[in-house]
Symmetry: C2
């Protein structure tokens, strides 16, 4: 056992040596410094605020926090692409809203029906197949779909500074989770490869499934019925359901993340909350209080009082995307 | 990076050396051999059936598989103890079934109302408090409650061979999960300490919660409303919801685990299913087809056809409990 202890100690030392060079895509502003100071505070063995590794839980929103969300949520684009793809099997969609508008290319009209219309389209494209079949549609879509303005695969529309942050936290003994309003099974097929976050550390919105045995093979059939909405006050609920302990760090970008940051930072002991503010109209997009996606208002108003860090993408990040 | 790779390789080698001495509380029968053969088959780098570490997911039932479940589920005993404890605040229970029978010490009469009565008692004792308050009631109860026949704390009523199996699998790169019909928040306060399974790797039955801010502090209030029953066909659903990939090993002991084993072993590639059969009336209890808890019938009938391993506690285990 002594050999193992020595090896582990050496490994730990080697890892800690990397910390000085971490977060290279962050400017050395107050935001970067506050992250490093917090991580030092909870990981240095002699710190009065030392937190044991199992309690080092960090949660990240996905849309607008780890990857982009403009000109609209990427999952919405997936839904519209799937409707076009499935249209030959649904001749009735030609005369049926909101599908008819999608097929005519009029997304604005398709979304005129609000949440109800979006939900109807989500169910038509996300249910009625097994979990394994759905995973394949996501993987196939990502392999060929391209972002409308950058022409890049969606999995390249991820923020380089946030990838570095995920890796930096893991190197410091944190377990990193995604807690997103997006569909849990829409994210799982690629989060391990892109973010280093395995499927079992992804929390998201979901529909119900039913267990069935088909020709000797067990499957889970996806049903057109909502199971859970992982947004706003649903995020702390989803965190408790999946993780079972209160995180000590939370990262978001919109008012949909407000309660997740509130839940995280109102626990006892050292806590850290951070909101990514989309301020860079050149390298990314600039939006906040009036945006149709990722609306950020309450968070901006209350961050200072609550001690949350606001990251300005324009000022705090050297680079936004890896492909720049 | 080269140094880290070398250290990791050395660590891996040191760990593998421990495998020969693992599972010391198992007799060297076919059951033990089948476990070791399977683990070698999926972990040896030159094996044609090698499984990458992230896919090495093993799921374990709790009641009757990791700890005992006689004379009744320990969570039921917790419920009855809580009813006695809360009775002063509920004078109406004196005349109200099933509570009145519990207070008179007549558990059989209390359970006469079947599932409905049990659910009513569960809600009365598990809801109406925050998640943190509930965690404290579980921790406090475990600190003083003693098993009616052995006089041991419930957390000592765990099977030594299964503790060794959990550790052996983790030493071989497996991630171990509990997937139990029991309450998820009833297990989480102690599974890390007792089994080495952290809260985020526990799947179980649950009630709904509501997010609230009380005097500046965010809490989750437990509601008297079922959220999910993690039993039978619910187990594969719970596994997909929490883990998001099909396990390659599953361990159970009752027909409540049948679908979990079926889901696990009907996937492609190497798969392993095992049922603990309670055959030891001296060191533990002997029961199967006719039992009121942990009924095992379909599993016994179909194990051979399905290639599942049956462990006889009497014949395959040198020791059942650590305190023997």
């Amino acid at each position: 056992m002594k050999v193992i202890t020595l090896l582990l100690a050496a490994l730990l030392f080697a890892t800690r040596g990397l910390a000085a060079e971490s977060l290279p895509s962050w400017n050395d502003t107050a935001a970067r410094q506050s992250i490093i100071a917090f991580v030092d505070r909870v990981t240095m063995p002699d710190s009065p605020d030392f937190v044991a590794p199992p309690e080092r839980i960090a949660v990240f929103d996905n849309d607008g926090c780890l990857w982009a969300e403009q000109p609209m949520y990427f999952q919405a684009i997936f839904i519209f692409d799937r409707i076009r793809q499935l249209a030959p099997q649904h001749p009735e969609w030609k005369d049926q809203e909101p599908f008819a508008s999608v097929l005519k290319g009029d997304i604005k009209a398709a979304l005129a029906g609000g949440e109800h219309a979006l939900l109807e389209m989500a169910m038509a494209t996300h249910a009625g197949m097994t979990t394994e079949e759905f995973e394949k549609t996501v993987t196939d879509w990502l392999a060929t779909a391209r972002h409308p303005t950058t022409g890049r695969p969606y999995t390249e529309m991820v923020y380089q500074p946030m990838l570095e942050l995920l890796a930096y936290l893991r190197a410091n003994g944190f377990k990193t989770f995604i807690v997103s309003g997006g569909g849990i099974e829409f994210m799982r097929p690629w989060t391990e490869r892109v973010y280093g976050v395995p499927p079992e550390q992804v929390v998201g919105s979901s529909i119900k499934t039913r267990y069935e045995v088909r020709g000797g093979k067990a499957v889970l059939l996806r049903l057109p019925e909502l199971n859970f909405i992982d947004d706003k006050a649903g995020k702390p609920v989803g965190i408790q359901q999946h993780i079972g302990r209160r995180p000590i760090m939370a990262f978001g970008n919109s008012d949909g993340d407000f309660q997740m940051l509130e839940w995280t930072t109102s626990g006892s002991g050292p806590r850290f909350g951070l909101l990514v503010h989309h301020t860079d109209s050149v390298r990314e997009w600039a939006y906040d209080r009036e945006s149709h996606v990722g609306r950020l208002e309450q968070g901006l108003d209350e961050a200072e009082t609550r001690g949350w860090v606001i990251v300005s993408m324009k000022d705090d990040w050297k680079r936004v995307f890896a492909f720049e």
